[in-house]
């Protein structure tokens, strides 16, 4: 069960990052601007760097490589998503879609905050059960070599 969870969490980040990375970064920049949180330079930097972080975390979680660190990374990312989307909902910002998956999947902020909170909780549970999470992982393979 934990292995399936690991694959689901890793896949969420993988799909989310590729949806942004394979499109011009300006499209994700437009999404970030809608959250009205950062100064202009910070928005541009985030639009260019953030999808790569998601990609690395996603692939590492999926493959089970450096699993404890990858899961901690996932935990931080989900925490960031919850805070960012939460503040947008509190401020009643006019967001039609969360923009989390680039242009591939459109989810309302109200839906995505529930998904992110649930994922945050599941990632925390996975971190508490690392030995089960590491089944069929590259970490296990390397540890046995």
């Amino acid at each position: 069960m934990y292995v399936i969870l690991r694959i689901i969490i890793g896949s969420i980040f993988l799909v989310s990052s590729l949806g942004k990375l394979l499109s011009p970064y300006q499209n994700f920049l437009y999404v970030i601007q809608a959250y009205q949180l950062l100064p202009s330079r910070g928005e541009v930097l985030t639009a260019q760097v953030f999808p790569w972080i998601e990609l690395i975390v996603g692939v590492f979680v999926l493959l089970g490589l450096w699993t404890p660190w990858a899961l901690r990374g996932a935990l931080v990312l989900f925490g960031v998503f919850v805070v960012v989307v939460g503040q947008a909902l509190i401020r009643a910002l006019p967001l039609e879609s969360c923009g989390c998956f680039g242009e591939w999947i459109h989810l309302k902020p109200q839906v995505v905050i529930i998904m992110d909170s649930l994922s945050l909780l599941l990632t925390f549970v996975m971190l508490r059960n690392l030995s089960s999470v590491k089944k069929f992982s590259l970490d296990l393979l390397f540890d046995h070599v």
Partner: protein, 203 residues
């Protein structure tokens, strides 16, 4: 194989795959044909802007209004042309408003109709059918109504709009308004303002 080396190898392959995919998916040059009837300004201006818009999109209305004011301040330094990108899955009047604009353009009245249509967007977007309002606007700006109706009924105007939307999609456009300022892609009015400041410091 050592875990660190394997990790580096995975990162290298991953990065290569994404950069490679981006390289093949990103258009190498913005091959946009100029439609004179939807362009204004100085064709030799230092700043050339192509805007892809949906006439029912509120952000586009804001962008068009902003750009109109900016153009009035710098008429000789800008060349602006409009392309259609109707978001028909989000805005029910996106296609019909684009059709009226295209048919107005064919009578040389694109900008005149635009000047009426955009400020009243919040009113006509709420109507079940905005066509009576558009017809009235067309009459106000001196459009020949018979020619207009023939154009609206033809497939040709719709084809132009769909072709421009396809062009936009091939350029990676996902939202409106999207601008190409001297071929650099810029999405949204905030980025448009930031980019224009680089060409016109202090404005």
């Amino acid at each position: 194989m050592n875990k660190f080396i394997s990790t580096l190898l995975i990162l290298f392959v991953l990065g290569g795959l994404v950069v490679g995919a981006k390289f093949f998916l990103t258009p190498k040059n913005v091959g946009i044909n100029v439609q004179e009837e939807r362009a204004k300004g100085n064709p030799n201006a230092k700043v050339k802007i192509v805007e892809f818009v949906d006439f029912q999109c509120p952000a586009c209305a804001y962008g068009i209004t902003y750009l109109k004011k900016f153009f009035d301040q710098h008429p000789n330094d800008l060349y602006i042309q409009v392309k259609y990108f109707p978001l028909t899955n989000m805005h029910r009047h996106a296609m019909i408003s684009a059709l009226y604009s295209e048919c107005a353009a064919r009578q040389g009245k694109f900008w005149a109709l635009d000047d009426l249509m955009i400020p009243q967007q919040s009113q006509w977007e709420q109507l079940i059918s905005p066509e009576p309002v558009f017809q009235s606007m067309a009459t106000q700006v001196g459009i020949n109504v018979d020619q207009l109706n023939t154009c609206l009924a033809s497939d040709d105007a719709r084809k132009v709009i769909n072709d421009e939307k396809s062009l936009g999609q091939s350029l990676g456009i996902a939202s409106t308004p999207t601008y190409f300022i001297n071929n650099k892609m810029v999405v949204g009015t905030k980025s448009l303002q930031d980019e224009l400041k680089t060409y016109f410091p202090g404005s």
